[in-house]
């Protein structure tokens, strides 16, 4: 071969390698932690300047440092098991029960709608109709039906989180391709076998997408329920702090609450990675 000859020959010349100039824009080459810190600093800095210059009334927007102090106060209160901890626990219970209820109902309805022609024809239109309603507006009804305890909050949280789970499940069941369906038919699989052994596993990525959207909604539902239906949860603490114009407290409570929401989301994501182990994270090699 000519190539081999050239490579091994004594007269091989030193050749410069082709050098690629990688034109990665500076903004894309910044490491994640630096970029995140930068955004955080800019955000806090702007916040600080705005409050320091008195552009906004301190009642409307506290300084970042007041908020930080209050976060420490709330943190100590929670860790020492003072009055805020039971309130947080109530809200966490509402979120967990609400999510569990939403999963049970959402998954069942999703299978009904996604698997049966009856469900798709007769149930789906009603679900879409209810889904387009502003669900928060049902809060007073839930209070009237279920009282001021956690039941009405659980109901609203579940109500909001159910629909994305229905849609995710139904879409997941539809995602199996023609070949897989044909294959199962040639193997003589029953409808139940096809559902359990093929359609459900195939649809797991979409089902988990529905669960993630539901996990976000369930938090919003629980807090809205507490705002509108009272009780003793974390939302009530926020409402009281707001009515006392204690804005630093409102901010810090919201931040702690967001940790709960984040934890729920991460639990769902972690479960997804364990269960749907074959699903590859889409990484765009050519995206900067």
């Amino acid at each position: 071969m000519t190539d081999a000859h050239l490579n091994q020959g004594p007269e091989t010349e030193a050749v410069d390698d082709t050098v690629w100039v990688q034109e990665v824009a500076f903004i894309d080459s910044v490491p994640r932690w630096i970029a995140m810190t930068l955004v955080f600093v800019v955000f806090i800095g702007t916040w600080d300047v705005v409050t320091r210059l008195g552009l906004v009334s301190p009642i409307i927007l506290p300084t970042p440092w007041e908020t930080f102090d209050d976060m420490i106060f709330v943190g100590v209160n929670l860790l020492s098991g003072d009055y805020m901890l039971p309130a947080l626990w109530i809200t966490i219970k509402e979120v967990i029960y609400g999510f569990a209820l939403a999963i049970a109902i959402g998954f069942s309805l999703g299978v009904l709608v996604g698997e049966t022609a009856f469900g798709e024809k007769a149930v789906m239109p009603y679900l879409v109709a209810i889904d387009t309603m502003p669900k928060v507006a049902f809060a007073p009804l839930f209070v009237a039906w279920l009282g001021f305890g956690i039941e009405s909050k659980v109901a609203l949280a579940a109500f909001i989180a159910t629909f994305p789970i229905v849609v995710g499940t139904a879409a997941g069941l539809h995602s199996a391709d023609e070949n897989a369906r044909m294959l199962f038919k040639t193997m003589g699989a029953s409808r139940m076998q096809t559902l359990i052994k093929m359609k459900l596993p195939t649809g797991l990525p979409q089902i988990f997408t529905g669960l993630k959207i539901g996990a976000v909604g369930v938090m919003a539902g629980a807090i809205t329920g507490e705002f509108l239906g009272g009780g003793k949860g974390f939302g009530e603490l926020i409402r009281v702090a707001a009515s006392q114009l204690n804005t630093p407290r409102v901010f810090s409570l919201i931040l702690y609450l967001s940790l709960v929401g984040l934890a729920l989301y991460l639990i769902v994501q972690w479960t997804q990675r364990r269960v749907v182990f074959w699903q590859k994270e889409s990484v765009g090699e050519y995206d900067h």
Binding site: A180, L183, K185, T186, M187, G188, A189, P201, T202, K280
Partner: protein
């Protein structure tokens, strides 16, 4: 030349009839499309038959009817002396896509037909056989690998094993290697020939490639569209076993040319 090549039903393999299609027709009532008209076909034991034709000639419809996936509008389909009225265990099928399930390992995918029909315990017992099959197709050592880690050709090999695990009497192949690159396809075709001989299987292949049809088949069913029907059954008298070298012989070229001219004529209609 035509006369020597075009031999309707004569000179087929000597085996007993396995598949018998008589006057099979398929009409889609909704739009009054005649997908298939008056198809008569006999597959003999141990023979390899291909069906070729432009798109819309009804070859996929024919395959689905033979597989018991859809009913014919008219006519009779008999497999091993029993009418085909639904999917059957003695039919093995393979598609263009390997369609392995990513949550199952190679071996678990292969024993899936057993799991569906006979349950988990039977599937477990079939694992040893699945290992043997993987060995046959050259996938030894990949038993517990997930499909994500298999190449396209390897995945199709695994799906061959899945088709063979139930020891079907006939193999229905729907363009099984058309998604592979040409080098892999040639190799897989030779492999398929060897497997069919070893398993003494009767094979029916739908393909778009004239070369592929000629190198593999004893008989080639040339179909024409609108309405889908059999135009001619071409007997391939190349000696067995076939090798890729035969693709350069004059006889091979003659048969390919003949089929191509048949198909070109179909285009005008």
């Amino acid at each position: 030349m035509n006369a020597s090549l075009a031999s309707k039903y004569s000179g087929a393999s000597s085996g007993a009839p396995v598949y018998e299609l008589t006057n099979v027709a398929k009409t889609y009532a909704r739009n009054a499309v005649v997908a298939l008209e008056n198809v008569n076909l006999t597959l003999r034991h141990g023979s390899f038959t291909s069906v070729i034709g432009s798109s819309g000639c009804g070859k996929s419809t024919l395959l689905k009817i033979m597989a018991g996936l859809i009913p014919p509008t008219k006519g009779r389909v008999i497999l091993q002396n029993n009418p085909v009225t639904g999917p059957r265990r003695d039919i093995g099928m393979m598609f263009q896509q390997a369609t392995l399930f990513p949550w199952k390992t190679a071996v678990e995918n292969i024993v899936l037909p057993i799991e569906i029909r006979d349950g988990k315990a039977a599937a477990k017992q079939a694992i040893e056989k699945a290992h043997d099959l993987l060995d046959i197709v050259g996938l030894k050592g990949f038993e517990n690998v997930y499909p994500n880690e298999l190449s396209g050709g390897m995945a199709q090999r695994a799906s061959i094993c899945r088709m063979l695990i139930t020891e079907p009497a006939v193999l229905l192949l729907d363009e099984p290697f058309s998604a592979l690159d040409e080098l892999s396809r040639d190799m897989m075709n030779m492999e398929l020939q060897r497997i069919c001989r070893e398993q003494d299987a009767t094979a029916f292949l739908v393909t778009h490639s004239i070369q592929e049809a000629v190198i593999l088949s004893d008989e080639i069913v040339v179909m024409k569209p609108r309405p889908g029907r059999i135009a001619e059954v071409v007997h391939v008298d190349l000696p067995r076993p076939r090798t890729l070298d035969m693709m350069t012989t004059p006889r091979f070229g003659e048969i390919v040319d003949h089929i191509r001219s048949m198909l070109d004529k179909g285009e005008d209609m």
